[in-house]
């Protein structure tokens, strides 16, 4: 059985951030949290997103509203990039 989660306190201590920031991300519905053994945790599939939010917040001082907007726009950017790739491939056929 693989461990597919990390406890919030472990994540925060290894990333040197306050636990409250993670809970705020959750309150803003930017990330999903889980619970294992009565302790709140972050599941593996959610980790890249959480780490990205932490970097943007720490590196660029982006607040939670900004992170929400960025996440939405990034989703669109990636979707558009994929679409462009697909169209390019079709053109080259």
């Amino acid at each position: 059985m693989e461990i597919e989660f990390t406890y919030i306190k472990d994540f925060c201590s290894s990333h040197d951030i306050e636990e409250s920031f993670i809970f705020e991300l959750h309150e803003y519905e930017l990330i999903d949290l889980g619970s294992v053994n009565n302790q709140q945790c972050i599941f593996i599939e959610e980790l890249p997103k959480v780490e990205k939010m932490v970097r943007l917040h720490r590196d660029l001082n982006i607040n939670l509203e900004g992170l929400g907007a960025i996440y939405h726009l990034l989703d669109r950017t990636i979707a558009l990039q994929n679409e462009v790739q697909l169209l390019k491939k079709r053109l080259n056929r």
Partner: protein
């Protein structure tokens, strides 16, 4: 190795103030941050350049050195002295993007100018925590009644652990420091053990509580009586109240499993009575039931 004009990288003049540098840096960092430019290697490269420029220009001492020797780094004898002196220098602040940091985060120019003994070493030889290990341990439910020690072999290393009484199926415990070794004297990872507990008893289990269905004769249900049932801690005599209905649940307080990490506390044992309806009656029994029926019971 080319000279890098950090002022040009940030798009500022040589006389730019600290505020100007900060402002230019923030503006460009927002534009080229790798997380904001997915799949864009050019942006990532640019971000590293901006980061490097800021590392130098935002630190008055580094900036002074850069302004003094930067352009003439190939010729300045003085620069060599600076190279020797830099060994004691420590890292300086800046962005901490770590999503794709690689060995070429900083230019050769930077390394020659400010060396590997200062800033770079503070990043490159960072201490990393060792990998976490995961293991699964199979136990019988009866093995969880008391705390006991068990020796496990994880990655060819023997580890003696205490298995706490009342540990539950699927529960994971962390053994700190028994994972992979850290890098550059970083702390070791942790060992996570998940328990796979096989219920080798005849009882149902929910947390620390145990459940059992117990058949009782119809006459005992109607008239009351005494029955004996087996629990994990031995046989227990139970009084059945007269008029006990089918499905009645009785709680035997503290006769369940030990509670995890709560010494001396136990769950409860729930017995659900299943009243046994006789299907084969002898002649006498049949007559007696008919007599009962005549009483409009």
């Amino acid at each position: 190795m080319e000279f890098i004009d950090y002022y040009k990288v940030l798009g500022i003049g040589k006389k730019a103030s600290e505020t100007d540098i900060k402002k230019a840096y923030r503006k460009l960092a927002r534009k080229f941050h790798p997380d904001l430019n997915p799949n864009d290697t050019e942006a990532e490269k640019k971000f590293k350049q901006i980061n490097e420029a800021n590392e130098v220009l935002s630190d008055p001492e580094k900036r002074k050195k850069y302004d003094q020797y930067g352009k003439d780094w190939q010729h300045a004898e003085e620069f060599e002295k600076q190279k020797k002196a830099r060994q004691q220098e420590s890292g300086f602040g800046g962005y901490t993007y770590s999503g794709g940091q690689s060995a070429d985060d900083f230019s050769d120019f930077f390394e020659n100018m400010f060396g590997g003994g200062g800033f770079r070493s503070s990043r490159r030889s960072a201490r990393f925590r060792g990998q976490d290990f995961n293991a699964e341990l199979q136990l019988n439910l009866t093995d969880t009644l008391t705390s006991h020690k068990q020796t496990l072999t994880v990655n060819n290393k023997k580890i003696r652990i205490t298995i706490p009484a009342g540990v539950e199926h699927g529960q994971t415990i962390k053994i700190a420091g028994h994972g992979g070794q850290g890098v550059n004297n970083g702390p070791a990872g942790d060992l996570y053990i998940t328990f796979n507990i096989r219920n080798n008893t005849a009882f149902g289990r929910e947390n620390a509580d145990l459940y059992k269905s117990q058949e009782i004769p119809l006459t005992t249900a109607v008239l009351g009586g005494e029955i004996t049932i087996a629990t994990l801690s031995g046989k227990v005599k139970l009084k059945v109240k007269p008029g006990t209905a089918n499905g009645t649940k009785v709680k035997l307080k503290g006769k369940g499993l030990p509670k995890y990490k709560k010494e001396g506390q136990f769950g409860d044992f729930f017995v659900t009575y299943k009243v046994k309806i006789p299907t084969k009656l002898n002649k006498r029994q049949n007559e007696l039931f008919q007599q009962l029926q005549e009483t409009n019971l």
